[in-house]
Symmetry: C2
Subunit: 131 residues, 2 copies
């Protein structure tokens, strides 16, 4: 498995844990130290305990929409890797950055931030920028 | 100057270049490779050229609001450093992550993402989380 594939697998594992409301699986994906997390609209969270607690809070919500993942872009250099992707969730779209650090040959999350993607003009700008 | 101070100085330089609409100053702050940038509502941008072009576009807008910076949190490990901070801009608040890599003893930006901070409940959650 290339590093690119290993990072994509770690990213898929994150969304699988989210979809399954699997708090223990989520805990295994995050690094011990130096973590930060910014859920949409939330103030920033720092530290493993605060971040894992936030996922438990989200998982307790029975109305939590499912996330469909798309447009993954991988940027990897040494032990540092990030995936920027689009989350489709409940009819809206978010841009998510999932940042990983390689620890003992395992890619662990150190940062997550998801922010709303505007509709309309943003689509035009995407086409102009990416093609 | 400690690494923490050096990172804060690099972060201040970013907001100073933004406030002055200084495209050349902005260009000096970004790394050559592996950069990504997610402006509020925009699709993600990848690569130095696309990112610097986006700032030139923003700087051409005479109605661009000023940014007031607050609540900086620094997370630094080796050549990898990030600052998560609050941007007050035109009456609204954003959570920004500015991610730096140390290259030849200079901290250069490799990633910026700014996302809206919800009012009201988020404030309550901040108090509950941080204190």
């Amino acid at each position: 498995m290339t590093e690119d594939e290993a990072l994509r697998a770690a990213n898929q594992a994150y969304y699988l844990a989210f979809a399954r409301h699997d708090a223990e699986g989520m805990a295994r994906l995050w690094a011990q130290d130096g973590v930060s997390c910014i859920h949409p609209g939330w103030p920033p969270l720092f530290g493993r305990d605060a971040v894992l607690s936030s996922y438990r809070e989200i998982f307790r919500n029975p109305l939590q929409d499912e996330i469909e993942l798309g447009a993954e872009t991988v940027i990897c250099a040494g032990d540092d890797g990030r995936i920027v992707c689009i989350e489709r969730i409940g009819g809206s779209r978010l841009v998510a950055t999932n940042w990983f650090r390689r620890v003992d040959s395992q890619w662990l999350l150190v940062h997550h931030q998801a922010s709303p993607l505007a509709a309309g003009p943003a689509e035009v700008r995407t086409s102009a920028t990416r093609h």
